[in-house]
Symmetry: C3
Subunit: 258 residues, 3 copies
Amino acid sequence: MSFITLTTDFGSRDPFAGILKGVIYSINPNAKITDITNDVSPQNIQQANFILKTSYRFFPKNSIHLCVVDPGVGSARKPLLIETSDYFFIGPNNGIFSTIIETENIKQVIELTEKKYWLPEVSQTFHGRDIFAPIAAFLSQGKNPKHFGNQINVNELITLPKLEMRQNKNTIAAQVQFIDHFGNIITNIPNDILFDSIKGTINNHNFDGLVQSFSGSNDKNLSAIKGSSGYMEIFIRNGNAAHTINAKFGDKLTVSFV
Amino acid sequence: MSFITLTTDFGSRDPFAGILKGVIYSINPNAKITDITNDVSPQNIQQANFILKTSYRFFPKNSIHLCVVDPGVGSARKPLLIETSDYFFIGPNNGIFSTIIETENIKQVIELTEKKYWLPEVSQTFHGRDIFAPIAAFLSQGKNPKHFGNQINVNELITLPKLEMRQNKNTIAAQVQFIDHFGNIITNIPNDILFDSIKGTINNHNFDGLVQSFSGSNDKNLSAIKGSSGYMEIFIRNGNAAHTINAKFGDKLTVSFV
Amino acid sequence: MSFITLTTDFGSRDPFAGILKGVIYSINPNAKITDITNDVSPQNIQQANFILKTSYRFFPKNSIHLCVVDPGVGSARKPLLIETSDYFFIGPNNGIFSTIIETENIKQVIELTEKKYWLPEVSQTFHGRDIFAPIAAFLSQGKNPKHFGNQINVNELITLPKLEMRQNKNTIAAQVQFIDHFGNIITNIPNDILFDSIKGTINNHNFDGLVQSFSGSNDKNLSAIKGSSGYMEIFIRNGNAAHTINAKFGDKLTVSFV
């Protein structure tokens, strides 16, 4: 139970992510901490949810996923520990765990209220350091989650509104759920509902596919491929598709089978 | 004594920070290295000092803080090991340790001169790799600091000029000491001299406070809050305050109690 | 054999590098993973080769260098394990290992074909996660490289075209091989062929040297120094030389001894 991952919007320029690690090691010097990313766009809950959903299951069973994208820090939003069959998730109740809540087998949810497991002094603006990191550290030492607060009902957990993904007979209406740093446009169409040959439109640009590899396209046209996150992606070989067609989160697209 | 932290301006794009870690592991494979940040603005000693002062005490006792922001590399500036009651600090004598020097209980200061603990070949431009990292590694193995060179007097330590922070009866004249990547403006006014209700001016913009959380403000106005680094911060909810009012290090502000 | 380094173009914003680490720890919880960098410019094989060549030898003997800059992912390019006298290199056969191939003593090259050491499901676009990371993890546990596939001939290894570096009696014609994030211009002239006093021209700007430290120059002129990577660098003290003269990879320069 000693693996802890970080998914935050703390950036790499400020010391915030490093401070979290210091707090954890001060409590459990044997913790093994891995960054998933600290470069979530500031306060972008939707993005954090996507990053977490494509990552968490690649870590060892019983890993503790510490997720701090927390625009409501210091307000009434509840600090949580969610225990699923295979993992633990620690962070604010604001939607960052939407996919976990919708897809994982949840064993219990604890509202973090027991102050003796927090840092002695709790700031108004940095609960990552003062509450979430210490809880992750004590949990990684084998402390029972029930010590950290009281169970709350799964119904209290906040999930984000869903993007549209409607499949008719030969067409799909869908949306963009993520842009990666290569400029690949990750849609919310699951790979496994796709046939081999499709055409589509996004932001008044056409694309077709599916190709078998990035190099199976040319350098000019938008192409579609089954992406590694489990969803169809639109790309330009050796280019940045999102910049080229000004794509962003939530943009709509249509796909038809040919 | 096996925790080593890095605070550098080496960036994440170049291999410099990774190379430091390789050098350390080659000497002490059991070292545990944590980045505080490698994205200090190039050669920005003031920024490095702030980052270090808000971070170092969150790490386990006896941690070794390796700080390499070193515009004078290869010149006469002295390479140092500073031992305090609780920590070790390794880096150049150029002001990056100002806060440590002014606030910590210093047990000894060693000028690093003993070449047998350096890499065999020392470059003119990368003492982080060739001198500081090996010293941190040997120290983390328990080597006595006295082996690395001779003690020098605390008076030889360079500290940065102080920012202005003048408190009159009902007003404070202060300065900006850091901008974080959210755009929050961190002043040099300690939280603990602040009353609940203040008004202030910075760069011809007004702000008031203190609010209890970021979400205790609206999305338009500048507000003040007790920050997690121990100093008053000025922010805009869901916005970037520093960009909005073009704030930067050293900008002056005034605060009055109301 | 438990040290694994990462050199990738996965960026710090996306979860890709974190996912690689999760895959590795899931197979070998005792692996020790260090980022050299994950911020190679997207698909920039030349840059990855330079970063690797200046870094790999600073890591402990038997370290496994995992290098994933892989524009041809999913195509016919071969996935490789290269074993040298001191290290292991894992990644695609596309030129990222040019310097290793040209300078190291290669003991064997394995084409990775044995699917039982890959993730059960292999995507078309993320062999870093599905093939290279698991192989690195199994290798770090001591698994014999021969299990992962068949030996191929060193002649099959792809190397990048060489930059020009021609030395006449009193002059050198050379090229830029890397720009670091400080804006220092790293040429391909080895330090050890340089005399103390030179003059040179790059992009219609003059420089001279060699200076003994960055601070041995003024803030206005381009100067040359023996760089820490083993090659002559051109810099501006307290400035960004590459921006100032718009230097980039491949730019030509001339040097004459004076």
